[in-house]
């Protein structure tokens, strides 16, 4: 530790307790007196002296050894090492570990939602591209990953409904589509699909009055749709089978002609036409599956097509 002589009182004091007052070295007491006597308008220039042999951090005395400095302050070797390897407090270390674990946990916990989102998005893209099978599987995968999402459940139901309609399971399709219709926006066309399913249910239940009523309602709304016109012809044919009313037969043939004209050779129309003509000819109503089983090569003019 270094000692200095006070220029005013001539006492020797530790350097760290001394000040530079203007040009003079003074002890603490003299510095305080000088401050009291000074004019408040002209503040004194006072700087504390720093002993280069005493550590400013831990006050350890380095004897005559001049200590290294950090930020202009003499620092002993131990404090020098400490300041260059300043330790993180234990609670900070624990918090950092906790935060890292939380991020890992949150990522794992939320991963199924991210997967669900990606599958839902993929399903929409596939649907837009007309790949209904892929869209179906992705929508169901999304619903499995996020079972609590009513929207995803509705989307899965929508595809269930489509699949059931394709397989002529109208009752199941109607149930699924009604569920989907509660959540999905109108752009999915669920109302039209529900109508198709209701028509299918009416046909399956041999409720030809309702079948005809629904088909006629659809035909009024979409008069230039070949499929709807063919369905109207089918309903009229069913009603003819049930009643034997020739007028219904004539109406069925007229609707069928209109459908054929509108379809202009569209695939699927030929099979539908054959089924309706068979119905009118035989006065027997059979569904598509049975018709295909019975007439695997088609039916024309009262007889099975031979190959």
């Amino acid at each position: 530790m270094r000692q200095v002589l006070c220029d005013l009182c001539k006492h020797t004091v530790p350097m760290n307790d001394a000040f530079i007052l203007g040009e003079a070295t003074v002890c603490g007491a003299c510095c305080e007196n000088a401050q009291k006597e000074s004019n408040a308008d002209a503040p004194l220039s006072i700087r504390q002296q720093i002993d280069p042999t005493v550590c400013r951090r831990c006050n350890s005395d380095g004897g005559n050894l001049t200590l290294p400095t950090v930020a202009g302050m003499p620092i002993c070797e131990a404090c020098y090492v400490y300041m260059h390897h300043y330790p993180f407090p234990a609670w900070i270390k624990a918090s950092a570990v906790g935060l890292a674990l939380l991020i890992v946990f949150a990522t794992m916990w939320n991963l199924r939602f991210v997967r669900g989102y990606r599958e839902m998005h993929g399903s929409m893209v596939a649907l837009g591209q007309g790949d209904v099978v892929l869209a179906d599987s992705m929508a169901h995968a999304a619903a499995r990953h996020v079972p609590e999402s009513l929207d995803l459940a509705a989307l899965a139901s929508y595809f269930d409904g489509l699949a059931n309609l394709r397989e002529n399971k109208s009752a199941e399709a109607l149930t699924s589509l009604k569920r989907a219709g509660e959540r999905l926006p109108p752009s999915f066309g669920v109302d039209d699909l529900i109508l198709q399913a209701r028509i299918g249910v009416a046909f399956d239940n041999k409720n030809y009055d309702e079948y005809l009523a629904l088909a006629t309602q659809e035909a009024k709304e979409r008069p230039n749709d070949a499929g709807i016109r063919a369905m109207e012809a089918s309903a009229l044919a069913c009603k003819y089978v049930a009643t034997g009313n020739e007028s219904l037969r004539e109406q069925a043939l007229a609707s069928l002609k209109l459908a054929k004209d509108l379809a202009a050779g569209a695939p699927g129309m030929a099979n539908y036409e054959q089924r309706i003509l068979h119905r009118l000819s035989s006065r027997e109503v059979i569904n598509e599956n049975e018709f295909n089983l019975r007439f695997p090569h088609g039916w024309q003019d009262g007889k099975e097509v031979q190959q």
Partner: protein, 172 residues
């Protein structure tokens, strides 16, 4: 107006992470640390006092380190928590806790005014000397300096909300 100290208290994890990042970069670059406060009820709410740094790379990393660390943590925490809440409308308390934590950390990503000013002066000096990093990072330094000036308008807090909620909304 809501006092800044109240916002700092409500978002205290961000303050702690900010100072932790400062300290981490100081230790990494061998800068002596004189004092650290991770959080307190005062102004500033946290600080790291370290020795003066002459090297621009070190100065840059120590000043901007929290910006990168806080931003990264904000994104890592908010991104997965965003999907159940915003995409599927599932209001799970844990998701909200994660969003609060992430946004709190993001809101304290910006270097403080002292950091910004120090970096600004160091960058100008270093760029004048032809320091490549200073030249390359100058636009970022300018942006940070400007953001510091605009922190009066809560831009630093808006940044946290932006990367915590805005960025995921662009992805999902």
């Amino acid at each position: 107006m809501i006092p800044g100290i109240l916002v700092a208290i409500a978002t205290f994890p961000g303050v702690i992470v900010h100072e932790m990042a400062h300290m981490l970069f100081c230790k990494w670059r061998g800068v002596a640390i004189i004092d650290v406060c991770f959080f307190r009820f005062g102004n500033p709410v946290g600080y790291v006092v370290h020795e003066a740094v002459e090297d621009f790379t070190t100065s840059f990393l120590v000043s901007v380190g929290p910006f990168f660390i806080n931003s990264l943590l904000c994104i890592l925490i908010c991104l997965p928590a965003y999907v159940p809440v915003k995409v599927f409308g599932l209001e799970h308390p844990l998701s909200y806790v994660l969003l609060w934590l992430g946004i709190s950390i993001g809101m304290h990503a910006f270097p403080s005014i002292q950091d910004g000013q120090g970096l600004w002066h160091a960058a100008r000096k270093a760029a004048a000397r032809g320091n490549i990093l200073a030249i390359i990072s100058f636009p970022l330094v300018v942006a940070i300096y400007a953001a510091n000036v605009l922190s009066f308008f809560w831009l630093d807090y808006l940044y946290g909300i932006g990367i915590g909620l805005g960025l995921p909304s662009l992805i999902f």
